[in-house]
Every structure is written in C-alpha cells, then in structure tokens.
C-alpha cells in the first residue's frame, strides 16, 4: 500500500512532530539545552563521524528546531531542511554553502533590498560575481548565464515589486546549464506556492513572516528538493572529500539530503547562525494555522486592492490577485492565492503618500511583512534605502510606492483606516 499523501492543512499541524518519546507530551517540548550527553566515547565518536544520527550541540541540531525543519520540508514538498537565526541567515547559508570564489550568480533584479546588498556587495567581497536580470523575462536569465555560473536566485513573488517569477521556465534555464534554482518563497509561504514542485531545487524562507505569522520572532529555513544531480561535475564541494568536515563526501554519503547536511556541517557549524529552540517553538505555534491565515490574508488583500483601485486619491495599485494584473494568469497557474502583500501610489507622489502613512490609526508603520497586523511602509526610504536609484528601479521600487502587508483585522476596519488616512 502506498503511503498517504497528506494535505498541507494536516502537515502544518503534524509534520515533524509526533508525541515525545521520553514523556508522551503531545505538544512540542522546548529542548532548551546547548548540549546532549554521549552514551560512551564510542557513541561520541560515531556521532562526530556522522556514522549515527543524533544530537551533539544545538548549534548543529536541536530536537525542537528539528520539528520546524521537518515541517518546513514537508510543507514545501522537499527532502530536508535546516533552520537559521533569520531569513537573511538562511539565504546566506544556502549561497555560501553552494558558492566559492570565482563563481557567478544570475539573480532576479526584483529582490528584497537586503538580498540585493548581500549579492552585490557582501558576496562580491569573497570573489563571487552577480548579474541582475529582469525577473519577468526567463530569456534574460538565459542570456546572463556564464560558464562559471553556479546558481540562479529569485523570489517567487517579489518583495515589494510583486513580480511573479515563471518558476518552471527559469528552472529550465538553470537546469540547461547544470545549476540549481534557489527560490526565496517568503511572500507566498509554502501554503500558497511550492517552487520545488515547479522545478526549483532549493527554497529559502524568512520564517519571521507568514510562517510564524505573529511578528514576534526571527527565523529562517533552507529546504532542498533532493532532486538536483550534484555529481554533474560542477559542484566538487558536494562530491569531493570535504576539508571542512574530515573528508566526508556529502552527496555520496547522504544522497538526496546531502546539501542540507553540508549546510549544517560546513556553514551552521562554522558561522553559527543557529535558530534558538524557543524561537523555533514560537514559529511553530504560527505554522499550525498557516493555511487558515493565508486564506484570509489573500481575501483581505484582494478586497483592499479593489478598494484602492476604485479610490479617487490612488494613482496605481499593484496586486497580482487583480484579474487585470499582467501576471494574473501566471500567478493563478503556480499559486493558490496572491498573498497579503500589495503596493500602491497616492496621487500627488511621495508627500501625500507619507501623509497617508502617518495618518493611519491602527495600520502600523514598520518594515516587517506577514504579521497578523496590517503593516505599511515606504520602501524607497526604508527597506531599499541602501540601493541607488537604478537598483531601486530594478528592484521594482518606485519613488511613490507604499507597501502594504494586509493583516487579519476585519476587512471593514482595514478599509475604514485606509479611507480615513487617505482623507487626512
């Protein structure tokens, strides 16, 4: 009999956590401990040699964090996952594990500002080059590929550009060149979009956003599909003995979760951006209700987008959930819904936009997204402030753009607050 394929609503509650073996606790215990005792010197040696699986030190793995890792892997339809202290740490872990000096990355231009900086400034310091391309055009990715390209990086739904990536088309470009496609799937969350099913090879998340959903806790996660052929000759770090972990060959030894193990042992162990057990536990409290919340985020955001479009003081609205959005059909093909993020401009440009932000009663002026609360911000002066004008435009950030992460308050109240703030 084949194993049952469980639906995401069930996985969001159960995957990665069965009753505790020691106590029978049904809810997830918080294993707030740095270290784990060895049964014997031989057991310790077997653990360090990776000959048996177990916990050694919470910088490498922790039972509470593992529940979040397995749940994220299950929700994404991936083989394995590894958590990190933040979403940026997850991106850094995926890229730094994969890349080395002399490598090249093809990246979507429409990315979160911090990611653009990591690629364009921080990785460049280590001799890694990046070409940014138009995320709406898969042929632009193909044109930018070089012999030393080792990864393609993009967001499934751009923040705050709201560009929808044609994941299958860009995956085909990456695979034709023998390199993996890495997708930041933070904005849709795994409930609305599963990039691995569309051909992506690695997914990263800021779990801080919709996965946690409550705006209390930072965290990130890297998920691997288990399907990328690391032995194609382009990734000696996956196939040759690792100088960073006494000669282990990650792909040969761990097969379809070799990349996750390499992230854990060559990156997490060394750079140390591990997720706290308490943080993993808090994020998981949110994950259990992810499907319910995303349905409401989508419904509220569509109502807000329609309201804004009809509002006489609004000059433009960008939300892929609107039927006349140029990428609406693509969004429908690869997502269950367009998520809770939208962008718009107020007639008259930046000054009335700022006035709108400062006049809100309960909509919060801050730079997070994916919270229960409705959040508003001005990307050009905040999240994307470190980028120059050309980079801002490439990232889809217009000078008058207001980004809104539509929350879970009653839709009538959200529309009321928008209306009164526009009238101010």
């Amino acid at each position: 009999m084949a194993d049952r394929t469980f639906q995401p609503e069930t996985l969001a509650i159960h995957a990665g956590q069965i009753p505790d073996a020691a106590t029978g606790a049904r809810a997830l215990p918080i294993y707030q401990t740095t270290s784990f005792v060895f049964d014997s010197a031989e057991h310790a040696a077997a653990l360090f040699n990776l000959q048996t699986f177990g916990n050694i030190y919470s910088r490498l793995s922790n039972p509470t964090v593992a529940a979040l890792e397995e749940r994220a892997a299950a929700l994404e339809g991936g083989r394995a996952a590894v958590a990190s202290a933040s979403g940026m740490a997850a991106e850094a872990m995926a890229l730094m594990t994969l890349l080395q000096s002399g490598d090249h990355v093809v990246a979507a231009g429409a990315l979160y500002g911090g990611t653009v900086t990591m690629l364009a400034v921080n990785l460049k310091k280590f001799g890694i080059e990046v070409s940014f391309v138009d995320a709406r055009d898969p042929t632009a990715f193909a044109a930018a590929m070089r012999p030393n390209t080792r990864a393609v990086f993009a967001e499934s739904l751009g923040n705050p550009s709201l560009v929808v990536l044609d994941i299958a088309a860009v995956a085909a470009v990456a695979h034709a060149h023998g390199v993996p496609l890495i997708i930041d799937n933070t904005v849709p969350s795994p409930f609305l979009c599963n990039p691995l099913a569309l051909g992506a090879d690695i997914v990263v998340h800021s779990a801080t956003k919709y996965l946690a959903g409550h705006g209390t806790t930072l965290g990130g996660v890297v998920v691997e599909s288990g399907k990328f052929p690391w032995d194609n000759g382009k990734f000696p770090g996956m196939t040759e003995p690792s100088p960073g972990y006494h000669g282990v060959k990650f792909y040969e030894t761990f097969g379809d979760f070799g990349f996750t193990m390499r992230c854990r042992l060559e990156n997490l162990r060394v750079y140390g951006a591990a997720l706290q057990p308490t943080a993993a536990w808090q994020i998981l409290q949110g994950v259990e209700t992810l499907p319910l919340r995303m349905e409401r985020h989508c419904r509220n955001a569509l109502a807000v987008a329609e309201f804004l479009r009809a509002h006489p003081k609004v000059s433009w609205v960008n939300y892929p959930g609107l039927a006349d959005h140029p990428q609406h059909a693509l969004m429908q093909r690869q997502m269950r819904g367009a998520s809770g993020l939208l962008a718009f401009g107020v007639k008259g440009g930046l000054a009335p936009g700022v006035k709108f932000i400062e006049s809100a009663q309960f909509m919060s002026h801050l730079v997070n997204i994916g919270d229960t609360r409705t959040l508003i911000s001005h990307p050009a002066s905040t999240t994307h402030r470190q980028l120059d004008d050309a980079q801002q435009l490439a990232a889809g950030v217009l000078p008058d753009m207001i980004r809104m992460s539509v929350g879970l308050e009653h839709i009538d109240d959200i529309l009321w607050d928008i209306d009164q703030a526009l009238a101010a």
């Binding site: 194993d3 469980f6 009753p19 040699n49 397995e70 996750t260």
Partner: protein, 153 residues
C-alpha cells in the same frame, strides 16, 4: 519493489542479520557508515567482500554462499550491473529481502527477488531508512513522512 513506510518498517523489524555485499573497511566509505550504524542499532552485520578477512569485528566472506549462518537481508553496495548474480545468490541462501542501496537499481534483480518471494527494496539506504522510520533522521531535518499520534517505541 517495496517503498512504503509500512513495508520498510516490517522489513527492518524482521531482518536482523544483514549480509552487506561490497562492504568497505575504509571508515569514510558509505558502506562502512551504514554497516556500523546498523551494528550499533542491534543488527548482526556479515561482511561480504573478497578483499578483506574481517570488518567491524565480523569475519568477512568472499561470497554469500560461503556464509555459515542464516541471512535475513542481502544489502548490496555494488554497481547495478553486478546485482543480478547477487540476487540469485540471495535467493539460493534463503534470504528474506534483497536490498539495493541508494543509487543502485537493477530491475531484473528486483523482479527475480520478488518472483522468488523475497521483499525487494531499491535505491534506498538501509541506514537512512532505519533512521527515518525509527528516529534519528528527523533530527537532521529530513522529511520522514511520519505522521502519527502514537508515542514512538
């Protein structure tokens, strides 16, 4: 080929003596990792490799037919083209399961084993599946596919 959780659990619970064909004595080789792990988890490992006298404290045999004790599982760390005669030997010595390791998929050997009434597993690592279904692999962040409200035993 058996590949579902219930079958793999049953196979790993019933097969307690494992002949590991192609077991290496080099500590960093995957076959050594897997055999050492199974030994540590209470399985009897019988090495099969003409190159060695002894591995992991167990006498090493040149061929499956030379083994002087009943074998439950024949676990194969060889290239796919070499598996068919090993499958014939597995049937001949009365093994209950032919297990082809990760990356090893010989469909003829699979059919031969199944037709002879053996369980047959392909392209799976015995260590990884044990760790997936009986704990351990979950701690490495792997999607085990286990959904359950029962306390693990």
């Amino acid at each position: 080929m058996s590949d579902d959780i219930a079958s793999l659990r049953r196979i790993l619970q019933r097969c307690r003596t494992i002949a590991v064909v192609g077991l290496s004595a080099e500590w960093h080789r995957p076959s050594f990792f897997a055999a050492k792990y199974m030994q540590q988890h209470g399985y009897r490992v019988i090495p099969v490799n003409p190159r060695y006298e002894q591995i992991l404290g167990e006498r090493c045999f040149a061929r499956l037919e030379d083994i002087d004790t009943p074998v439950d599982m024949v676990d194969v760390f060889r290239k796919p083209a070499d598996v068919l005669p090993i499958a014939r030997s597995a049937v001949a010595i009365g093994a209950r399961c032919l297990w082809q390791q990760l990356g090893v998929m010989n469909l003829e050997a699979d059919a031969l084993a199944r037709n002879a009434g053996l369980d047959s597993v392909m392209d799976r690592c015995v260590k990884i599946e044990h760790a997936r279904l009986f704990g351990g692999l979950h701690w490495a962040g792997v999607n085990t596919g286990v959904i359950s409200a029962r306390r693990p035993t």
